[in-house]
Amino acid sequence: MNKTLVSALALIVASASTASADGVLNIYNWGNYTSPELIEKFTADTGIEVTITDFDSNETALARVRQGGHGFDIVVPTHSYVQAWISEGLLAPLDPEIVTDRGNIAPQWVDVDFDPGREYTVPWQWGTTGIAVNTSVYTGDINSADIIFNPPEELVGRINVIPEMSDVLAIAVYAVGGDDVCTTNMDTWRAVRDMLEAAKPSWLSLDYGTIDNYTAGDILAGVYWNGATMRARLQNADVAYGYPATGYPVWMDNAAVLADAQNSENAMIFINYILQPENAAMLSNFARYGNGVAGSEEFMDADMRDAPEIVIPEALVSAGHFNVPCSQEIQDVRTQIWTELLQ
């Protein structure tokens, strides 16, 4: 009896020590966003076992980590939330001893407003929110917000708008001539509200998961993300992605190490790992977005390298803007407009 107990204990101690030798890493990320192949490769290269937990919104992720006791090591917030994470002390500065390859970050993504010099975060994936439209029905200019807000006859009643308040309001603000998504100019908001109220009867739905509906032609146009539109196009060549010339949102999700991470060293190792062009390309090949690491293009799938959803046309690059978080006062105005729209 005693013998069994002792050997069992020995076994437990042994397994515990192997676990700490190889280590574990807990990643808290958006759902269906982390390339499983990359994780397998990481574990094979480093012996670190990875667990991934999904979140479905920035608000959820922030609220959960604020509570503490979450057990996560890495989190992947969107750029507009990074400042909140940093200012509340939730992120650990990247360890220059381990994260040695920040030089791999493409120059335009280094001195970003939300994390100048990349002290806390590195790029995960970036993309745009624009217009998906079926060109077998619609033959006009695809780089126009009018497709959504003042749709031509052939698209009326077949439009889907993703229920992302900040993205939709941003495109709307730019479309009415505004340049600040948090503007305090109430005339802009009035114009946005009137335009949205007038456009809504032409919309079929405000829904997320509609790749199949685009492919099947149930939905002919909509506000959509570039990566998702690309997935639809690969199944139906008529689907095209337009960048509203008046302005459209650019977003970037960024990986960071949590200040109270249990496996902080492993987390830093992982951060440096995804800065290698080959590994960053694996993230892109899975999620179908750009990654912000220089030199990763040559490792990307051939159909991604020159995809119109990922390579923004030269003339339209300057129309892309990062969304910024608004003050609560303006956020309440925006939510009010959104609620009235969906009432």
Binding site: E59, L62, A63, M186, S205, Q328, Q331, T335, Q336, Q343
Partner: protein, 310 residues
């Protein structure tokens, strides 16, 4: 005995025993207080605070959350305070859709329950079993299944077009019709089961007596059966109405997000709207609506009991 006649003179033992018996409730009470009241208290307290930075709350007392439930300062003219028609319309739609769902479930549930209750006893178990089969599958999956059924290129439209009933697909998805269909489908068993329970206890000799007295089928239904199964109707209506009021998945998936119900509005405030106090106040309001429905229920039941005894 000692417990019923409170005696200040310390007889000691019986009272102490009584006290200990009470303590046996402690685990249940602790769970109730912590798991049921605790979160509610937090929600109630949050509704009186200010919104925090990027979600959460700041610990400053404020009635703004409750104010914004009902009223709004015109965003273009802050001096001008008016009813918050955005929120109020969502309330009204929620209550109205829930009432419609309850009525549809009652209309469909009554004959279903009647059918089961009038089968031979050994068959009833099988029919009840069939009623519960949908519960085996996750709500979200069943809702998506309905979406597949009624979408533009879905089964129903394909069949109708194949039979030549319609020439082009009927837009059923993303409408109030779709929401009602989804909710009625999901909540129907909650109406059938209590109705069946009431009918099971029904004394069919009373129905026969009605016929013997030359009552028409309708009169028997109206004056004999319905009053006797009314408690089942009331219980079923409550069971259907309350989850309908809080429905989130069904309007989101089948309504296509074009119009919100209260659950979606609360979700918006806790999520993208980043105004937790307003979301908390809306949640409390939902709770109040449910409580009103429950009080109405209890009153109906009590009145019935009193009537029977009197």
């Amino acid at each position: 005995m000692a417990a019923q006649t409170p005696d200040p003179a310390p007889e000691g033992e019986p009272q102490e025993r009584h006290g200990w018996k009470w303590a046996l409730n402690a685990p249940a009470l602790a769970v109730l207080i912590l798991a049921a009241s605790g979160p509610l208290i937090i929600v109630a307290v949050y509704s009186f605070l200010s919104p925090g930075n990027m979600g959460g709350v700041a610990w400053d007392f404020s009635l703004d959350g409750w104010f914004k439930v009902f009223w709004t300062r015109d965003i273009f003219d802050p001096e001008n305070v008016s009813w918050n028609w955005g929120n109020l319309t969502v309330f009204w739609r929620t209550v109205w859709l829930s009432i419609q769902t309850t009525v549809i479930c009652a209309v469909l549930g009554f004959p279903t329950a009647w059918f089961i209750a009038t089968r031979p006893p050994h068959r009833r178990a099988l029919w009840l079993f069939l009623i519960t089969i949908p519960f085996w599958t996750n709500l979200l999956i069943r809702t998506f299944a309905i979406q597949e059924l009624i979408r533009g290129t879905g089964l129903l439209n394909t069949v109708m077009m194949g039979l030549g009933i319609v020439n082009e697909p009927v837009q059923m998805l993303y409408s109030d019709f779709a929401i009602l269909l989804g909710m009625a489908y999901v909540f129907l068993p909650l109406m059938v089961l209590p109705l069946y329970a009431a009918m099971d206890k029904l004394d069919f000799r009373l129905v026969e007596a009605g016929y013997d007295l030359y009552a028409s089928r309708f009169r028997v239904l109206w004056h004999v059966i319905l009053p006797l199964v009314k408690p089942g109707f009331v219980a079923g209506s409550i069971l259907v109405f309350i989850p309908s009021i809080g429905a989130y998945v069904t309007p989101r998936v089948l309504g296509g997000g074009r119009t919100m119900m209260l659950g979606n509005l609360i979700g918006l405030q806790f999520g993208q709207g980043r105004n937790w106090p307003l979301g908390a106040a809306l949640s409390m309001l939902l709770l109040i609506i449910v409580m009103i429905a429950l009080i109405a229920y209890l009153r109906t039941v009590n009145r019935d009991d009193g009537g029977r005894r009197g």
